[in-house]
């Protein structure tokens, strides 16, 4: 029982990060119908920026710079590269994303080398004892708090502000929005910037729990979060969060009870089980068929 509680909390903590990362993917999908395969690589870039800044100054300054770098990087990638393939067939965007991944990983490898680097956590990752049980670490609490804060901020942005309304309009009906005076292109850039910043946050939170900083550190997180977004339904931000937590829990239980080797198989089984019942994810809305 103790073990179950521990695995559940651990799964929730991992799931929170997957949820944030999946949310970043869904943000871009909803506005541009592009699955951003470069999401993980972009997050790694910001983590390396944080690494360099932290080495010279303090952790929290590095943290802030990483989020800012995420904003800038997202905007640059959208303006510089993705804008040219947004109107093109979707596979082109997938390919460009994968190309960016290779380019970024190659470049980071050339600059920083291919060894794992120690990436600090801001607070202790040792679990506090509650009763006689080691349950949550301060770090888990930081993870929960920051992910919840980001989700709340995004919810407020999209439902309560004029910019959020414009962004939703630009994604939903670009032509009409343009006629009504919404700067659609600018909204897309903003969406990419926000998404990359959320991805940067997720990267900062997840890398200390892994082997360390490496050009490919986010690859598995990307695949897992992608799965989470697929489980939840790519069109639904709520689905991304639920999917992220669900995948986090499944991974934690499978790792805890059966061993880490089986996790990819568990992910595949979960994915097939959900998609064979609901081919567009758990939270897919009913939609008129396009004829």
């Amino acid at each position: 029982m103790d073990r179950f509680v521990f695995l559940t909390l651990d799964g929730l903590s991992k799931g929170a990060v997957y949820a944030a990362f999946a949310l970043a993917l869904v943000l871009i999908w909803r506005s541009t119908r592009i699955v951003n395969f470069a999401q993980g690589a972009l997050a790694v870039v910001t983590a390396y920026v944080a690494y360099s800044v932290t080495a010279a100054t303090t952790y929290w300054l590095g943290f802030a710079v990483a989020i800012a770098a995420g904003l800038v990087l997202g905007a640059v990638v959208e303006r510089g590269v993705m804008r040219f393939v947004e109107q093109a067939p979707p596979l082109n965007a997938v390919t460009v994303g994968l190309g960016l991944v290779l380019l970024i990983q190659g470049a980071l490898g050339m600059i920083y080398g291919n060894d794992f680097r120690f990436f600090p956590a801001p607070v202790s990752r040792h679990a506090l004892d509650i009763g006689s049980l080691p349950l949550l670490s301060p770090y888990d609490i930081v993870v929960f708090a920051s992910v919840l804060l980001v989700m709340a901020l995004l919810a407020v942005l999209f439902t309560r502000t004029r910019v959020g309304l414009r962004m939703r309009a630009a994604a939903f009906a670009p032509e009409v929005s343009r006629l009504l005076g919404v700067r659609v292109g600018r909204m897309l850039t903003l969406g990419w910037a926000l998404s990359a910043a959320v991805g940067a946050l997720a990267g900062m939170l997840v890398i200390p729990t892994g082997l360390g900083l490496h050009p490919t550190a986010m690859d598995l997180v990307f695949v897992t979060s992608f799965t989470a977004a697929v489980v939840g339904g790519f069109d639904s931000p709520v689905g991304a969060v639920v999917g992220g937590v669900a995948v986090g829990l499944v991974l934690s239980y499978v790792t805890g009870y059966f061993g880490a080797d089986l996790t990819p198989i568990a992910v595949l089984v979960l994915l097939l089980a959900v998609l064979l019942v609901r081919p567009a994810g758990l939270f897919a809305g009913t939609k008129a068929r396009h004829v």
Binding site: V85, P90, L91, N92, G99, L268, A280
Partner: protein, 368 residues
């Protein structure tokens, strides 16, 4: 919204009018394959062993890229998991070959049997994945195939006794037949094997593409509803496309097992699946000629960048950092640039050039 791959395919289809030629398609393709075979036969005598091995590798890649380009480019289904299907073929070939050598069975036919079994297993796995894939569209299909791609190491570690975990298996392959002479280079023999596999694959696929099934693939890719109204069984045809493509991937994986004399999970990592996809997109999606370009690039590009870094004089530390990373960066940059500047891929450029050449003889004469 239509399937995202479909809209892509519509564009690809728009500038590829199906050529109308007289005479039997089968005979024409047979003649082309035979011609290519004869030329390549003489080429293998001109190449040194290393180049022959590279030729063999490209031919093995070609089996997979040709199958994948039919799936992605013609039937409009995206697969990020073909590396796993290749692994299925490769591991089957490894196990069967080793069974043969343990029981002392020899003869050239053993290789044919194990490759056939490799194709059969990959086909069976492909049918299962294809059944799921036929229900899914866009990112959901990408998600499932991606998940398939990353299960390979998990399976080989879990079934440790059969697949020997991360270490993988070594593959017993017989030396070239003695009839070819005692000094016949092994690499030339490997090139022959891989080229025969590639030519057979291309021949079968070229006929499939021009057949009723090929037309059904394209019809579904362009408009599922219209295809269904025209009497095409959409799901069944999509599964068929996946199965055909899986069979090609199985053959390709089996050839890699034969060429490398070993199989291990690291050889069939997610990057392999992605590289296959990238190769066919750079080559020109949906065209078998594009698949040839792609397969060649997969072999030539790493080689080129390596010789480039060799040319530069660098400190050992810098050299270590560039090794592996520079090819990666160059490959990535090539992809991004090609996708933005020439979305039709290399074959698209060739086609555009050929059309310009045919369409404007007068204009060119005037320019002279």
């Amino acid at each position: 919204m239509t399937s995202p791959v479909a809209t892509l395919a519509q564009r690809a289809a728009a500038d590829v009018p199906p050529p109308r030629r007289r005479g039997s398609t089968l005979l024409r393709h047979l003649a082309i394959a035979a011609g290519a075979g004869v030329i390549l036969y003489f080429v293998t005598y001109q190449l040194d062993p290393f180049r022959n091995y590279q030729l063999a590798t490209a031919a093995a890649y070609l089996c997979a890229t040709a199958g994948l380009t039919v799936l992605v480019g013609l039937s409009g289904q995206l697969s990020l998991g073909h590396g796993a299907l290749m692994a299925t073929g490769a591991y089957t070939v490894a196990l069967v070959q080793n069974k043969f050598s343990d029981s002392g069975t020899t003869g050239s036919w053993t290789l044919v049997v194990s490759l056939a079994l490799g194709i059969a297993t990959a086909t069976a796995v492909g049918a299962v994945v294809g059944l799921a894939a036929a229900r899914l569209r866009g990112p959901y299909l990408a998600g499932v195939t991606l998940a398939v791609a990353i299960t390979v190491p998990a399976i080989t570690t879990t079934l440790d006794e059969i697949f020997n975990g991360d270490q993988g298996l070594s593959v017993y392959v017989e030396p070239p037949p003695l009839a070819l002479g005692a000094t016949f280079p092994n690499e030339r023999w490997q090139a022959w094997l891989a080229l025969v596999a590639a030519l057979l694959t291309m021949l079968l696929l070229a006929n499939l593409v021009r057949s009723r099934f090929g037309r059904s693939f394209r019809a579904i890719r362009d408009d599922e509803v219209a295809a269904a109204l025209a009497g095409i069984h959409v799901a069944r045809t999509q599964v068929l496309a996946f199965v055909v493509s899986a069979a090609c991937a199985g053959l390709s994986g089996g050839m890699f097992a034969v060429l490398a004399l070993s199989v291990s999970p690291s050889a069939f990592a997610l990057t392999l699946s992605l590289f296959l996809l990238l190769a066919i997109v750079i080559g020109g999606l949906g065209s078998l000629a594009g698949a040839v370009w792609g397969a060649a690039l997969l072999v030539v590009l790493p080689d080129l960048t390596e010789s480039l870094t060799d040319r530069l004089t660098l400190s050992p530390a810098a050299e270590q950092r560039l090794a592996g990373n520079l090819p990666l960066a160059i490959f990535g940059l090539t992809l991004v640039v090609v996708m933005i500047a020439a979305p039709g891929g290399l074959q698209g450029l060739v086609r555009r050039g050929a059309r310009w050449w045919r369409a404007a003889p007068d204009a060119r004469r005037a320019a002279d």
